[in-house]
């Protein structure tokens, strides 16, 4: 019985095995057949590929004689988008103004916690062989601000370039760089004090590069002059004029430098700032109004080191700018409160100021992807000449603007870039730009760029 069952079991295994043998044979034949046809087809394809490649080596001649540029992203126009945001930890100060300085306004940068910066959308292209155009729009919550919208000549020759429209002024060094190209998460104090964030012009810029091996560039700009330190004055004439000169070159293979001197002159009409008045019934917030001339000198210097001119692995950048601003004009104040000494917008006499300051920073890439940097900002309250009897009859002498104080700030940063399109940054700052406040700030920032490469300025 036992043996029988084993036999039956073995037979039950063997019988299908015999049937499977037949199947296997058929399968093998089928596979062999398929192999053969596929081999034939692959061979035919290889021959076609070889045939297609062979003449290509000689015949891929361009339609345009090789003068057309490959565009940065293979698109025309080039489109790029910058995404930027941060987490920021800092003190809660209601109105952040640099002590001793007329508030320049600007894009903020004083939101605490998580925030998103303006997303920059940049579209640019050569319009034809003679002109190039660029639009840079900053997008944020229901507003689209035109940061730049200009055309530039390509065909003037002899070293001349004319730019027209809205553009970032060529004065100084950092002014022409957009926030995503900055080495720190915020602008230097100097830039905040001088212009808010940038000095932009609606107007014309003419630049000339000298035909020398030493880089020498001279520029002049005329424009509307609506931006701080000027104001929009609704006039036919020129609102602001600037001049600048840049010199630069290499020292050996590993060093490059650029130095510049710039000058900006503009006028303000009823430029506003908040003050407290001396109302006996209790202080009111009133408008201080400045009208007059504003002149700014900026000296800038940049030195870059990259071993053998190859910045990919290690490089060092030193950057410093100094400024001197003189303003000669008149102060007034205005208030709607009947008891305020500023009711009826009284004139408060002359206000002549001279202020100086600057920043110096260094950024060191010590290994691929990683950079560290340090920046020192300092400003001087400078000299302000006015008639205290007249001014302090209306405005509170304790106003921050009249304080004799030296704002300063130390900033340390470390950033990590996977490649040139993405960057994460951690920054610590000890900000003493406001008298009586030592603000230890921590910023964790991301900068991502999508789309076309976009060549950066030196």
């Amino acid at each position: 019985m036992h043996r029988m069952s084993i036999f039956a079991f073995a037979a039950s295994l063997a019988l299908p095995a015999a049937a499977a043998d037949e199947d296997l044979k058929a399968l093998r034949e089928e596979i062999a057949q398929m192999k053969k046809t596929y081999e034939q087809r692959i061979e035919a394809l290889e021959q076609r590929l070889a045939a297609a490649e062979a003449p290509k080596e000689k015949s891929q001649s361009p339609q345009d004689g090789g003068t057309r540029a490959g565009t940065a992203g293979g698109f025309n126009p080039e489109v790029s988008l910058i995404l930027q945001g941060q987490y920021r930890r800092m003190k809660d100060v209601p109105e952040r103004n640099i002590t001793g300085y007329w508030p320049a306004g600007g894009h903020g940068g004083d939101e605490r916690g998580f925030s998103v910066d303006n997303s920059e959308l940049i579209v640019s292209a050569n319009i034809n062989p003679y002109f190039r155009g660029l639009l840079n729009v900053a997008l944020k919550d229901g507003e689209a601000e035109v940061e730049e919208a200009w055309f530039q000549t390509l065909g003037l020759g002899n070293g001349f370039t004319l730019k027209g429209g809205r553009f970032l002024s060529g004065i100084g060094y950092i002014n022409e760089h957009h926030p995503h190209a900055w080495d720190f998460a915020d602008a230097p104090l100097m830039t905040k004090a001088l212009f808010g964030e940038h000095y932009g012009q609606d107007g014309l810029q003419l630049k000339w590069v000298a035909p020398t091996d030493l880089f020498m560039e001279f520029g002049a700009e005329i424009g509307r002059g609506a931006g701080f330190p000027g104001t929009d004055r609704n006039q036919n004439g020129v609102g602001a004029t600037s001049l600048f000169a840049h010199v630069g070159g290499d020292v050996g293979r590993s060093h490059a430098w650029r130095a510049g001197l710039s000058w900006l002159t503009t006028r303000a009409k009823n430029r506003e700032a908040h003050f407290e008045d001396t109302d006996a019934a209790g202080p009111n917030e009133v408008e201080g109004l400045y009208s007059g001339r504003s002149r700014t000198w900026i000296a800038d210097f940049v030195w870059k080191w990259a071993p053998e001119g190859n910045p990919k692995y290690r490089n060092l950048k030193l950057q410093a700018e100094l400024f001197r601003r003189t303003e000669d004009g008149d102060l007034a104040c205005a208030s709607g409160v009947a008891t305020s000494p500023c009711a009826g917008s009284p004139a408060l006499g002359n206000l002549n100021t001279r202020q100086t300051g600057g920043y110096a920073q260094t950024v060191w890439q010590f290994m691929p992807r990683w950079r560290v940097g340090y920046r020192y900002d300092w400003l001087n309250a400078g000299s302000k000449r006015y008639d205290p009897a007249t001014v302090f009859a209306a405005l509170d002498p304790a106003s921050a603007y009249f304080a004799r104080y030296r704002p300063m700030r130390h900033t340390l940063m470390a950033d990590w870039s996977l490649d040139e399109f993405s960057r994460l940054r951690l920054q610590f700052a000890r900000d003493k730009s406001m008298q009586g406040v030592t603000d230890n700030q921590v910023t964790l920032q991301y900068i991502m760029s999508l789309g076309a490469h976009g060549a950066h300025k030196f």
Binding site: D64, A69, N126, G159, A210, R369, E420
Partner: protein
């Protein structure tokens, strides 16, 4: 003010050299322009062999040199996208703007490899026009030399026949050299090689070498240890004979891999000036092939 204006006028009239002034983006095009132009050209090489042509800054010195150039000879195919457009625009030199005869892109005259089917940065820093490192296939140099000589002749008509003659002599020498190099490198066919970046695709394509992998996980992304470990395993499964890098790539990832896999790391000159022997275009290939043949 008047004096300043006079000074400016004087300066703008200053460069009265007779030579054709060529601004070459890479050393190979500087070398080619010299081969074709001889003593009738003044060639400025914007980069040298120890620089990664992807990662150059638009330095003031480059703008100053572009200002005076009559011909800009570059690779194109977006290789210089990060700096050349800036240099050209800032130069104020109308003659060398894209679309003008003074602007020459070599990559447009050769059959480019690795033209991506999909352009997405998730694939790394890919170039829509294909791999731009075209100079390591000498047949590409021939393909570029003819239109370059012609362009030089158009810009400097007085020397056009001179350039044409020199081109013919160069092409003859190059044809002979290519035949010799191909004989010398016949034994290399099928050799499996790991490259740091996709810098040698044209060389491998020409000589029949097989790129078994790259140290960069994706173009432009720095090598990481996980990817390198994978390469070690890969090299064990399918034998590889050599790891190659350019003189400007960091030697570290290659050394790391060499240590763990027992493979040899070789530095190929990549362009003119990349090694002692690679002093001109002929030396470049002599040395490259010698270094490949020295592989164990």
């Amino acid at each position: 003010m008047k004096r300043l204006f006079l000074l400016l006028l004087l300066l703008s009239a200053w460069p009265a050299q007779a030579d054709l002034r060529v601004f070459a983006c890479e050393p190979e095009w500087a070398a080619l322009a010299k081969e074709l132009g001889g003593d009738k050209v003044t060639v400025y090489a914007a980069t040298h062999a120890l620089q990664d042509p992807h990662r150059i800054e638009a330095r003031p010195s480059l703008i100053a040199r572009a200002r005076n150039a009559q011909l800009v000879a570059c690779t194109g195919a977006e290789l210089e996208a990060g700096w050349l457009p800036q240099v050209l625009r800032e130069s104020g030199n109308a003659a060398i703007q894209p679309g003008r005869p003074g602007y020459f892109e070599a990559a447009q005259f050769v059959a480019r490899l690795e033209i991506p089917a999909k352009i997405d940065r998730s694939e790394g820093d890919v170039h829509a026009s294909g791999n731009p490192h075209i100079q390591l296939d000498p047949r590409n140099l021939l393909a570029v030399a003819a239109p370059l000589a012609q362009r030089m002749g158009e810009l400097d008509a007085a020397s056009a026949s001179f350039y044409a003659e020199r081109h013919k002599a160069f092409a003859d020498r190059m044809h002979a050299a290519i035949a010799r190099w191909e004989r010398e490198a016949a034994g290399l066919r099928g050799m499996r090689v790991i490259a740091q970046h996709k810098s040698f695709s044209y060389l491998f394509n020409w000589l029949g070498l097989v790129e078994a992998g790259t140290l960069e996980p994706k173009p432009g992304i720095e090598p990481g240890s996980a990817h390198l470990a994978q390469l070690v395993a890969q090299a064990k499964a399918q034998p590889v004979r050599l790891i190659v890098r350019t003189p400007f790539d960091s030697p570290r990832p290659g050394e790391w891999l060499a240590e763990r896999s027992g493979l040899r790391l070789a530095t190929l000159p990549f362009t003119v000036g990349g090694s002692e022997r690679a002093q001109d275009l002929f030396g470049l290939f002599d040395d490259t092939i010698a270094r490949l043949r020295a592989a164990p």
